[in-house]
Amino acid sequence: MTTPQPTSTHVRPNYMLIWLYLFLMTIAEVLLAFELPVSQNLKLILLLIMAVWKALLVALFFMHLKFERWRLRLIFMVPLPLAAILVTVVIMEKVF
């Protein structure tokens, strides 16, 4: 059984600009980790935020997830809460 392709329109992102963001953020991460006098906890939070931000840029623009149908996005998103549950349960078992 086949269905027609989607006919929605979208604009192709500026890939080189996203590459520049990723490059600059990688430099910022290394500087933050080794050069900047920031507390360990703040450093940890900032590094994780930057990593997630970079990963989102790749997923949304390079993998075109931003322009895909919601049904397809769900396939990729469904494992994320499951993954969070997996890690949380193991941590709780370790803590308690």
Partner: protein, 239 residues
């Protein structure tokens, strides 16, 4: 952020699976990637639990691992990701060629053959640098079992056990080599797949703006590998 307009209607009329609304190869790749998310989550989750559940501290960032070298490797993978997406855009626009002179521009315009070759070179370079890093680390005494007795790192760890995380070196070694090793295996599989496509489909010009499914599917895989490395680089090398 906008440059060239592209419509989904321009995409080739592949038979689409009912429900997700995409062709079966692409749907299959997304389902595979979803399963790979769980695979890497198990590895990263175990690492987090082992590392932060320990009373003893792990080696400080940069004490054992060569961060500048891995930073360059990260840059290579990011470059390969952008060249992959440029390859995808090139074939979608019908640019099958390697390089072509464009009137009014000093730089030549790259086509599918050019951008995919750049991706393959960057991916192979990433694997090469990782192998070099492993050889250096093992040479210095960092193995999956910890610091080898009598090695340089074992001596450093004796002199400064906190900086080198002497008490948990075995755990550090096993998690480091497991996570980066599985990622390196994914990159190697990607490079081999792209080489196969390059010689069997791209060079004989079998892809067209009407059918470039192979490029889109391998592209999804390649970007996912880049995405995983972005997380691994931060967690393993910088924290």
């Amino acid at each position: 952020m906008a440059s060239t307009a592209m419509t989904d209607a321009m995409r080739p009329p592949y038979p689409a699976e009912q429900g997700a609304g995409v062709y079966s190869n692409k749907l299959g790749m997304w389902v595979f990637l979803a399963s790979d998310v769980m695979f890497f989550t198990a590895l990263i989750g175990s690492y987090i639990v082992l590392r932060f559940g320990m009373t003893e501290t792990w080696a400080k960032p940069g004490a054992v691992l060569n961060v500048p070298l891995t930073g360059i490797n990260t840059f290579l993978l990011i470059c390969s990701s952008v060249s992959m997406v440029k390859a995808y855009a090139a074939i979608a626009d019908g640019k099958k060629y390697f390089l072509r002179k464009v009137a009014g521009k000093t730089l030549q315009d790259g086509g599918l053959k050019f951008w995919l070759l750049i991706t393959i070179i960057c991916g192979a370079a990433f694997v090469g640098v990782q192998v070099f890093e492993y050889i250096k680390l093992v040479g210095h005494g960092f193995t999956p079992a910890g610091y080898r007795e009598g090695s340089v790192l074992a001596e450093h760890a004796l002199a400064d056990p906190v900086k080198y995380g002497a008490g948990v070196a075995g755990m550090y070694g096993s998690t480091f080599f497991t996570m980066t090793g599985f990622h390196g295996f994914h990159v190697t599989c990607g490079v081999i797949s792209m080489l196969y496509l390059y010689f069997t489909k791209v060079l004989p010009e079998k892809y067209s703006p009407q059918d470039y499914r192979g490029i889109e599917v391998i592209g999804l895989y390649w970007h996912f590998v880049d995405l995983v490395w972005i997380i691994l680089f931060t967690i393993v090398y910088l924290i």
